[in-house]
Amino acid sequence: MSERLLELTGVSGGYGDIQVLWGVDLAVNAGDMVCLIGSNGAGKSTLLRCISGLGVWSKGRIAFAGRDMSGRPAADIVAAGIVHVPEGRRLFRGMSVRDNLLMGAYARRDGAAAIRRDLEVVYGIFPRLAERTGQDASTLSGGEQQMCAIGRGIMAAPRLLMIDELSLGLAPRLVEELGEALIKINRTGVSILLVEQDVITALELASYGFVLDRGRIAIAGAARELMVNPLVTDAYLGATALAVS
């Protein structure tokens, strides 16, 4: 049995008077790729913001590598090794691809040589970023922007990479390409928590999945089992699942 890396116990949270999450339990083991699926508005992004310490109130326990991280500011979370690739990429406009990637390494303390080495690693995973290193990041295509956002996440040398809506607005071929990149990243020892509305993509990539429904974890299990679980297929896959099978 591998080590628990991230463990959420009874996490509730929301914005101001509005409570979005109701006692969420979730865990990611070291080295795993886990997905969090659910429909629009289920609270997936809010859950990531709770973990990242980003403008959300939260209660309950968030433990990372055995340390209690509940209620810590965003900078501490990044320093601990949890890196959040936000929905909509949120690249820094007016800054080059390279400067965006270097911003990812902002909190690192292991020296310029290690950062340069990881820059080459990112360019190795996404050769298209190497071609566009000096280009304003806001002029990239949607797929390239997602590559840059993931690359920026890798530059932080994370132990856990949380990616919010990998596939949103991208062509299926690009999603496949990004998925392969995630598998490569995962093989280097980085655990991944993938948040997706596209249930099929998520369950194909991940080994374990959680289904979030109206702020509560409705179902959890191995991705292979979720793929054939009638509760999942009826609610989230619908006709698509029939077409696939």
Binding site: A74, A75, H84, G94, D99
Partner: protein, 288 residues
Amino acid sequence: MLYLQVLINGILLGGLYSCIAVGFSLVWGVLNIINIMHGSLIILGAYAAYFAFTLLGINPFVFVPIAGVALFVLGYALQAGVINRVMGAPVLITLTLTFGLNLILENAMIFAFKADYRKVIIDPPLGLIEIGSAFVPRDRLYAMLLALLLVGGLYAVLRTTRIGRAIVAVRMDREAAALMGVNVPRIYAITFGLGALMAGSAGSLMSVIFPISPLTSVAFLGKAFVICVLGGLGSIPGVMVGGIALGVLESFGSLWLGPDYSTTIAFVLLLALLMFRPTGIMGKRGFE
């Protein structure tokens, strides 16, 4: 040849003006604060240079980095201790706050230094350089070159250093910057500190050229405002162009209409620009 002389005067003045405005532009662009204190910070730098000169005999050109560092510390402390408390609030709140802080600083200076005009008089004078029939006063030339060096230095810091990148990132997307592990309130304090550093350095240079008094702070604030709008907010090359444009326009304005009108010209220009090109000459998003 008179026009050449007026043009030279304008450019010399304009270089200093860019230095006056660049800190104001940075604070406005990154923190979204219209810093009413900016003029008083310039005057504070000028007084520091004046007293360093008259009491300790330190040349104001040499005093520039000292004034800069001292004002950086003051600016950092003000932002970290006071202004950061209202950063989430609408722009009117921060405007009111800096207005109040300015009243305190300005009146403290009137109390401490009196409202009399004072000027650093370098003896013997540095003299003039002759170009054909035009003259370039050395003190103004050195002040302009140092001013442009400072502005260029700030540009380089923002473009090439880790902290500089973080400042630009916070300007673009505060929340995404926080996700990179950036301590946003600290970056705010550093940015405000850099704005004050540029103000203090500019003030130190100005003490050689203009008579100073706490009452002149408003004039410098006004110029900084006009230059930012002229050059476009959020662009350092824009501030340089805006500063030199204002310097040249004021020089020719004084020639044709008399020196009393130089401020009027600046504000008429501001109004015209706001009507026809509200983004300024080089304005765009992104701190270049």
